[in-house]
């Protein structure tokens, strides 16, 4: 029997959503200041409007005064799933008013793509977008990648932080307190912000020839997109715009940093370097990276693309790092990516589907789940081959020795299967709209794994059903299903419960 949610349930959800809306209203100050600095008054007005709408939501939430503002799991999951619906819609206001989108849905698509760190875009004439708006769309990567909820958790602790934290697809608590963990994650981001922007700024001036101010601006935007494995770029030709091997290498460092779990960041931060060699997730991602890189290089070499070894390795390494970390930067146009031969195309598709590490800003199935799935399979085979009474050890190393229990194995396999189903569903919708199988699968995985590489199916003229499908995939992929399913369950209970 389903229990219909009561007034207190709605008050608790409203209360927390209100607080998150206030945080978002506060975040608007950064693009607004950017607009004032650049004397971009139309974008400034749209930022004020957006802040006003967030403040209204916040004020409405503040009016609901639940008797006890403590979230249980179902409330937390519903708050997370709803936050990831409302914030992209309100966050799309400045984009919708920019004149760079055919209709408001396109602007919401880009805002959701930004927040979910996907990077697919249906924007028109990006190269003439106002800098403050360009800053905002990249800042969406930063807010979404770090976690909207995490931003809120850093500012207010309150009860129920843990359920919100887990709801946003994070399962690694570094410190006993969620607030301390959230602050550590922000510390990692801020340190990388300083070094990343400095590095990209210098490389932009020295190797690309940008003027210093423009180089810092591009460096900041590329940092947001690389460290949060987003994939938006300041220019329409993505990182191909810079034509610089050095710039690609600098961005790769940030992409790798973004795809690393914050647990691994913490281990390195504390100089526990032995963790790198022993961690199951690190071993898995290194193996899958080498595998997909080899496939891509062989595929490109067989097709005779990119001539010599230097050009071939540069293109393949950058694109595989971009795909595997779930970033989605490109140095080749989508029309060129489409004609990559079978093996290279396969290498890229697999890299995108697998994704980065768990509890990072990357999307996809995640290396930890891949490693554990392989371990479950290996243990099953060993159990069959060994004498009946023998016991197969089911331990693995991930920030310490852990036991692979049956519930953990079931959860890993279930989520991995859900990702496969999500990829296939999107591909099916693509095929139904006339796309070839390989292109439909590539674009679907790119959306579902929050990557952002495109072979051209995503553009301003795409069918609405396909667009909505990719939006649902970005939403489900970013939240790793549980929060979204909880929201659906909550709505069903509201309608059919007693």
């Amino acid at each position: 029997m389903l229990l219909r949610p009561n007034r207190v349930d709605f008050e608790i959800i409203g209360f927390y959503m209100g607080r998150i809306s206030f945080v978002m209203a506060g975040a608007t100050i950064f693009p607004a200041l950017w607009a004032i600095g650049g004397r971009e008054w139309d974008p400034f007005a749209s930022f004020v409007l957006m802040a006003g709408v967030f403040t209204l939501f916040g004020a409405a939430g503040a009016r609901s005064k639940p008797p006890e503002a403590r979230l249980d799991w179902s409330h937390g999951m519903v708050v997370v799933a709803l936050t990831w619906v409302i914030v992209p819609i309100v966050g799309a206001i400045p984009l919708a008013l920019s004149g760079h989108f055919v209709d408001p849905l396109d602007a919401v698509f880009d805002a959701l793509s930004g927040l979910s760190t996907t990077g697919l875009s249906v924007m028109q004439d990006l190269d003439h977008l106002a800098p403050s708006l360009n800053f905002w769309r990249h800042m969406l990567h930063f807010l979404g990648g770090q976690g909207i909820i995490l931003a809120a958790l850093s500012l207010f602790a309150g009860g129920g932080g843990l359920t919100l934290y887990y709801g946003e697809a994070r399962d690694e608590k570094i410190f006993p307190s969620v607030t301390s963990t959230a602050r550590f994650i922000w510390a990692v981001a801020l340190v990388h912000l300083v070094f990343g922007v400095l590095l990209l700024g210098i490389v932009g001036v020295v190797a690309v020839g940008l003027d210093p101010l423009r180089s810092v601006f591009h460096g900041l935007l590329v940092f947001f997109a690389a460290f949060d494995t987003g994939g938006f770029a300041p220019q329409s030709t993505s990182l191909g715009y810079y034509h610089s091997w050095w710039y690609e290498a600098a961005a790769s460092i940030l992409m790798v940093a973004g795809a690393m779990s914050f647990g691994l960041h913490f281990a390195l931060w504390r100089r526990r370097t032995r963790e790198v060699g022993r961690n199951l997730e690190v071993r898995t991602i290194v193996a899958t990276f080498l595998g997909t890189l080899t496939l891509t290089i062989v595929g490109l070499a067989v097709a005779g693309q990119y001539g010599g070894a230097v050009g071939l390795s540069r293109t393949a390494a950058f694109q595989v790092v971009s795909a595997h970390t779930g970033t989605g930067f490109a140095t080749v146009p989508s029309s060129e990516l489409l004609v990559w031969s079978g093996l290279a195309f396969g290498g890229m598709t697999i890299a995108m589907a697998l994704g980065g590490m768990a509890s990072s800003t990357a999307g996809g199935v995640k290396a930890l789940r891949v490693g554990l799935t392989l371990k479950v399979l290996r243990d099953q085979v060993r159990q069959v081959l060994l004498p009946e009474r023998s016991v197969v050890p089911r331990a693995f190393h991930h920030g310490g020795r852990r036991i692979l229990t049956a519930p953990v194995a079931q959860a890993v396999l279930a989520v991995s299967l859900l990702y496969v189903a999500l990829y296939l569903f999107g591909a099916g919708v693509g095929i139904a709209h006339g796309a070839p199988l390989d292109a439909a699968l590539f674009e679907s995985i790119s959306a579902g794994a929050n990557v952002g590489l495109s072979v051209g199916l995503t553009d301003a003229s795409m069918p609405v059903v396909l667009q909505l499908t990719y939006m649902a995939q970005m939403w489900l992929g970013r939240l790793e299903f549980v929060a979204v399913f909880s929201l659906i369950g909550f709505l069903v209970a509201w309608v059919r419960g007693r």
Binding site: V188, V191, H192, F195, I253, T273, I297, S313
Partner: protein, 42 residues
Amino acid sequence: MRRRAPLDQFRAGLLVFVWEAVFVTVAILVALALAVLVLAIV
């Protein structure tokens, strides 16, 4: 949790950044070696 001075935190972060740069350098060299090997075979 033992609180660390901001400068210590910054230094620790720089070290992580250097580790990431080393990983990317190794990845680039591996890709180059693979490309040379594959082109020699193909």
